[in-house]
Structure formats: C-alpha cells, structure tokens
C-alpha cells in the first residue's frame, strides 16, 4: 500500500527525518533538571517516526512552563494565551483537517483556566494530541497550588495548606468522552516515547497525562512511586489484553471485588485478575483503573482507553462536501434571495 501525505508526496519519497531535524535554533530555557527536558527529548525522538513532513506538524500551547515547548521544535508552532491552546487547535484542525496538531498544556493551563476547552475538545473528539504536563504546581508564576495539588499543599499562596481537593485529569478525560486516554512519566523515557507515539497514531482526541517533576517548586512530587528502585512495585504498566500485574517480577495482581479493585499479593495465576481492555466502549473498567492510586494501589500508566469514534473535523468536512455535491453554490442567486421585485 502506498500512503500519501497532504502535499501529494509519497511517504517513500520523503527525505528521512531524524531527531535533529526537529530541534529548533532556540535556546531551551527551562530550569536545569526540569522534567520538561525529558518530554521534549522524547517528542523530538518520536516525531521522525510519524513520517510526516515537518511543515504539516503544528504544536500549539497555552501559558506556563510547559507551553514554551513549541519554540524548541522545528515545526509550525503557536504559543498562545493562558488556557486557550485548544480553542486555536480546534479552529485550525476544523479548517485544515490534514494537519497533525499537538496541544501542549499543563495542570494549571489545561485544568484550571482552560478546563472548559479541554472538556469540549474531548467531547467533540477533535483529532488532536493533547499532552498535559502534570507537575501539581504553578511553576512559571513561582509556586502556587494547582488543580492537581494535593489537599493541604503548603505554598506561598497557601501558607496554611490548601483547602481544596485535587482533580484527577484522567477521570476528567474519561468523563468528557475522550477516545484515547493515557498516562506516562517524564523519567520513564522509553515508555513515554511509546505512549506519545501511540497517542499520535490515534484518530480523535488523544489525551496523555505526563507526570512531570518541577524540581524548583514541587520537587519529588511523584518520587514515591516513580523512583527507579520502587517503580516496579508501585506502578503498573497496563497493556491491552493482559492482566493488571505489578511487582519486581510482576508477582502481584489486581482483581475486582464487586465494583472495587483490590490487590492480590503474590497472585500465582492470572485467573480472576483484572484483564485490561483498552478498547472497551463502556468506560467502567477505565474508571476503576483510574481510581487506583498510591499508596493503596500501584499507579497505572500506559493506554487506559483507546476507542474509535468519528472525528469532529471529518464530520464537519463531510457536511460541507455533501452540501457542495448537490448545491452549485451560486452566489449570484444567493444575493438575489428568495423574493425579489423589479423596478422598471
């Protein structure tokens, strides 16, 4: 099979791009040690695998540390305003369905000021790749609590601790009807790159939450389960069709007790363990998985949900094509309208 891209070139004709082709000439200005560096590196590594010409790739961001991302990629990029990246991305994708569009956002940008847009992009199933960098803090504004900060979080803006409960971004995505939902961790680079690749292969809104460390204002927020020495014990790498297992030798499992998940320590056989089905149309299993959190459970990472639904922009385009197919678009006649009279 021969695939073509928007400008009519055959994929096989395209020059082979490498990671370097996606590195822009801009100096990267995140704090040394920031988790964003890793996400950028995995993205730059992953992009050549898409085999899409650079000019057909667009990165759109809002405001925040994560939103500097587009400047560092040699593609089209738009650093917009706080919380609104998805609005631009939705308009761009609706107008130009052939483009590949990534939206870079954070827990403040995407879940607080831009929460509304996140809900609606996912409910519409616009074919976008939304990467939400979750560091559970406002970094660029120097350390205020974010919608994913844990209750009681002490910051400069909350010296007595916050009095609000955090949001779970994955739960929001599932509730809004996202067709692709995944979670990855900045420091687990191979898994991150794989997850980004799978997200970009999905047709429809792909939502990827990346646990990202802010080493200045919220250092070690995810260390308890993402540190290399405890990762195997405290996270579970979920895979479609496989039982939910974790532990150094995958010796533990998770099963259902009624509607509740429970850990089975040293589960000898897979019998009775929860089997992951990322294609389940019913989101119940996904919701059970997303309810699993450290320390009661291993934290699930990987593809939580991936289902196929028609995309917003395809349906919009189909209506236009349909209208064009049976209406000659006669503007002179439109100008005359339905009722005219002649003055002699």
């Amino acid at each position: 099979m021969v695939a073509t891209v928007a400008n009519g070139n055959l994929i096989s004709d395209l020059p082979v791009l490498t990671r370097k082709d996606f590195v822009s000439d801009q100096e990267v200005r995140w704090c040394p040690g920031c988790g964003d560096y890793s996400i950028l590196a995995q993205m730059q590594k992953m992009l050549p695998e898409l085999k899409i010409p650079r000019e057909n790739i667009v990165f759109i961001s809002g405001i925040g540390c994560s939103s500097r991302f587009p400047y560092y990629l040699e593609t089209y990029g738009f650093h917009s305003i706080h919380g609104r990246a998805l609005t631009l991305a939705t308009g761009l994708k609706t107008a130009r369905p052939e483009l590949t569009v990534f939206v870079i956002t954070g827990d403040g940008d995407g879940l607080s000021i831009g929460g509304n847009h996140l809900l609606h992009a996912m409910r519409r199933n616009v074919n976008l790749n939304v990467i939400l960098f979750n560091n559970r803090i406002y970094g660029l504004t120097k350390g205020q609590p974010s919608p994913t900060s844990e209750m009681g979080k002490v910051t400069k803006a909350s010296p007595y601790g916050t009095t609000e409960r955090p949001l779970n971004p994955i739960r929001i995505a599932l509730a809004a009807g996202a067709t692709f939902v995944a979670r990855a961790v900045d420091r687990d680079i191979k898994h991150l790159e794989e997850t980004l690749y799978k997200a970009s292969q999905h047709k429809g809104t792909s939502f990827v939450e990346v646990y990202q460390n802010c080493n200045i204002f919220n250092d070690g927020a995810f260390d308890a389960f993402t540190n290399k020495d405890v990762r195997q014990e405290r996270m579970t790498y979920i895979e479609h069709g496989k039982p939910i297992r974790f532990g150094k030798n995958l010796e533990h499992g998770v099963r259902l007790n009624g509607f509740t998940a429970e850990v089975v320590e040293n589960a000898q056989s897979d019998e009775g363990l929860l089997i992951h089905d990322e294609h389940a149309v019913n989101p119940t299993l996904a919701n059970i998985l997303v309810g699993m959190d450290y320390p009661e459970f291993p934290v699930p990472v990987g593809i939580i949900r991936s289902i196929e639904e028609p995309t917003f922009e395809d349906m919009v385009q189909a209506q236009v094509d349909e209208a064009k197919s049976h209406d000659p678009a006669d503007f002179a006649s439109l100008l005359r309208g339905s009722e005219t009279w002649v003055v002699e």
């Binding site: 000019e55 308009g91 609706t94 130009r96 064009k324 100008l335 309208g337 005219t340």
Partner: protein, 635 residues
Amino acid sequence: MTTETPVRPQQIVEELDRVTIRFAGDSGDGMQLTGTQFTKTSAVFGNDIATLPDFPAEIRAPTGSLPGVSGFQLSFSSNDIRTPGDQPDALVAMNPAALKVNVGDLRPGGLLIVDEDEFTPVNLKKAAYTTNPLEDGSLGAYQLIKIRITRQNELALEGVALDAKAKFRSRNFYALGLVLWLYGRPLEGTIKWATQQFRRNPAVLDGNLRALHAGHAFGETTELFRARYEVAPAKVEPGTYRFITGNEATALGFVAASVQSGLPLFYGSYPITPASDVLHELSKLKQFGIKTFQAEDEIAAIGSALGAAYGGHLALTGTSGPGLSLKSEMLNLAVMTELPLVVIDVQRAGPSTGMPTKTEQSDLLQAMYCRNGDSSVVILAPATPSDCFWMAIEAFRIALKYMVPVIYLSDGYLGNGSEPWKVPSMADLPKVEYSYAKPADNWQPYLRDPKTLARPWAVPGQAGFEHRIGGIEKSEHSGDISYDPENHHRMTIIRKSRVDNIAADIPDLEVTGPASGDLLLLGWGGTHGAITSAAENARKRGLSVSSAHLRYLNPMPKNTGDVLKNFKQVIIPELNAGQLSLLIRGLFLVDAIPFNKISGQPFKIGELEAKIDAVLGLTGPYELSFGPVSALGGG
C-alpha cells in the same frame, strides 16, 4: 376625535407622501409576521421602506403582560427615506398591554386600531390599567377605531378544522387584511407567501387566508374609517430589488469576501443576541465551503477563528458587547501575532447584560481601547442595513492586505432593521486579495512588506516556512521572543503605524450638503438615516447644516480633521454617552457638541432637528425629555 362620528358612505382617498405604521401585540400574536408581510407588499408596490422590529428579550413573556409586548414599525414613502419614522401615523394594538406600551409614540390625531374584544378586565389588569382606556376618554387625541377583531375572526373561521386557540392565533392575518385594505394594497403577495409557508398545514393555511380576507372585507364594508390612504410609488433606480436586514447583509458580505478571495470562510461563534442571526445564516451555506463552529464560549469562538486564520482561512468571529469583553485577550493575541481576523460586534444597549434586544452604539471605546498594552485594531462601522454587505467585504480586504484584526461594529438597529436593496451583480463586487508567504532567501516571520507593513502569512503546510509565533513580544524581524527595551518600543510603534497607515487606503469622509458652513452633524454607524435626514430637513428650512458619517473609526479618513474645521460648530449625535465625541476632541482638538441618547432606541429625526435649532440659537437649549442632553455637558 372618536369613532362615534358617523362617516360618509363614500370614502375619501387621501394621498400621502409617507406613512409610518406600528403593529403591536403580545409576543405570541405574530406582529413581526404582520409587519414583514405589509413591508413586502409595499416594496413590491414600489414604495421606499425602512423597518424596525422591537421585540422583547423573553421568548414568551406571560401572555398579555407589558414585558411581553412585541412591535414592528415600518415607514413607507413615495420618496427616498432613511429611517423607520419618528412617530407612527397609525398604531394597531392587539391588546391593552400593546396599547399601553405604544400609544405614547402615536402622533396626535393618528389612527389607532384596537381589538376591542381583548380589553377584558383580566387583560386590563395585566396591563396595569385601572379603567378601560377605550371608554375613559384618555384616547381623545387619536382617531380611535374599535374593532371586535377576535370575535370577527372567530366568525370568519367557523368550520375550519382548528381549535379555538389556533383560530385566535390567526388574528394577525385579520389585522393585516384590514391594514392592506386601508392603504390600498393587494392581498396577492401575502396569499402566495402564506400558501408556500403553510403548505404542510392546510387547516392553518385555510384559517389564515380566511382571516386575511375577512379583515380586508371588513375594511371595505365598514364605515368606521374616515378615509383610505394612498402612498404613491417612489422614484427609485431601475433594477432588481430584495429586502435585506443588516444581519443578513453582514452574513452575505462575508460570504462575498470568501467568494471574491477564493479563501474558505470559517466562522466561530457563541450564541448571543442580537448576533446569532449571522451564525444561523452562515450555517446554512455549507455549499460555499463555509465551516461554522458553535464554540463552548466566547473565548473559544475567537480562539477557533484565530486558529483558522493561522491555518490560512478567512477567519471570522461574531458577538455582541459582553462577548467582545470576553474576547479581548484573544484579540490581543491576534494583534501580536499579526493574523487577519474579523470580529463582528452587533452592539446592544448597556453595560453587562444590559438590554440585549435594544440598540446602542456604546462599544466604540471598548473596540478602541479595551485591551491591555498599546493595542491598535482597525474598526469599521456600516451605516445602513445594506451597507453591512459592503463593509463586511471591506473588513476582509483590509484584514488580509495588512495582516491585522478588524472589528466590525454593527448594532441591533442595523442588524434587525431592513430596507429594499438593489441586488448587486457579481461584477459590482470589489476584489479581495491575499497572499501566502513566498519563498525568499531572507524569509523571516516578521520581515514586513515595506509599504503595507504587513508580515508574511506563512501557513502550516508550506514547507520551509516552519516558524513559531505567540503573544510574547517579538524581535523586529525574526519574530523570536525578545525582551529588548528598544525593540519593544519600536514594535509598539510599528503595530500602531500599520493601522494608522490604512487611512491612505480608505475613502475620504464625504460631506452631505455644502462642504463648509455653520454646522456639521458628524455621526457613525446606524444613526446615518436619522442624522442625514435631519440635516437635509434643516437645509430645506434654509439653515447652513451639513452632515458627515464615519464608516471607518480606526483609522479615520485622512481628511476628517479638515472636514471638521470647515464648520463653525459640530454636533456629534450618538446612541451612547459621548464616545465618538471623546475621540474627536482627543484626535482633532475640536470642541464638538455631544448629543447623546441612551434609551436603547434610535434617534428620531425630530430630536436631531430640535438640537440643530438649539445649537444655531433659533430656540432655547434642547434636551431629550427623559434625561440630560449629554454626559459631557453641552447645550
């Protein structure tokens, strides 16, 4: 005079130059339909016409209540007219509430037709009448014609397969039939229209047509009317005409911009009165490649449009005042990223929610200044419903040529008002040109065209033009992030100059009447009809009064200052508290006299003439009866 006077069996036919009628009833009484049908009939007859619907914000306020009153005013004439009339010559009131809300506007001696059957104790109470105005002598200043419309209509519809409620609803056709008779207008047009409109509901069609004929026949046989009236056709330019409202013209104009430029139109919008009609109109026109997007909020609406602009499409968003407030931040992103974007603001009355269905011109300063930083955008304002068409095309001509956001200020009066429009031919339409970035050795995202100062429009998909833009200050040519102090100073000036320079590319301000004299009326937007007519009337009275109308508010035409200096005095009538006045004083140091009306209603020609007379010293100081003449002082 009341109707008790016996009338002669042979009716007089009075020839009139101009008649203004208002139909008023409950919002469920179909008054908009009645007004529209009368309007079409008169247009086909050859009169010049202007209309003004006036409907409540509530879709269905309680029946018979004062807030539920809906009205439709139209003025038709044997001459060229520009407004729907100051004072109705005739008022049709379908219930006590409609009478109460509207009778104050009827000219003394005017014709007042009421449905007597609706003046029941219950309905009188709903309208807060303590006594029945039909009997207490309070309507002595008018020619009161009491007709049992409800009962007559019931009789006419006997045997039609409709329930009592549905029969009641065809009273508007009865009233229409009667008024068509009164002004010597044929029924054919309405019959043809109704036959098409109600083709799927034969019983309703039958009921409405019977009501229409019954109303017409009642006029013919009754002796209640002292006279019938005739308004001869106007002398208008030959051609094919249609009716057009400002909102329809706006939508058509933007489609024209798409047709003329060859760029597909994207419209992102969030429902808001009185701008939603534009969304409805454009949503129907997918065959023209138009994509409409009903966004989750006002910000998403403009954001999506800016995304489409970035993608190389003709990008449009539309709203009314409160929505423009919400769009400010995104509009500033369009200013910084220098992308072509048009924002429609169909202005409504008041701050916050204000009065959504009423008109005003109070978003001018919001359009000019309500953004952070020094931020200049182009502002256009159509002057008449049909001018909306031409200015919509102009908005995109400018946006594309100069890579700049444009605000298009319409208003509720223009948007909902209608007038006959000579349908332009395709050859009449102006060119709308654009170009995407062209390969060049020294290509940079902010390297400008030296003449227009426009930056290149490099759109995703164009190989070799990959670049990054955003809201952070740009380095002058590369567009890279820059915090350099001198660069920021220069960029601010460049962004402003880019807008100011457009003055060289727009028509001069035209003066109607002599180019110099005692007094100039300077207006903008939807007040054009009233201002032009008032100045013209003053000239007919031998006064030295001219008028000029700004359709370009930023930048203003380059001769604006010179025009102002040719007059001893300048009045700036506005439907706001003095916004253009402030700009004119600031920009040209002209001590203009503001004349402001902030009632949600358009100017009456008479109000402007009274102001002219006062300023010229022919009378004492003039103020509107309901308030101070202006927020900025002035007499």
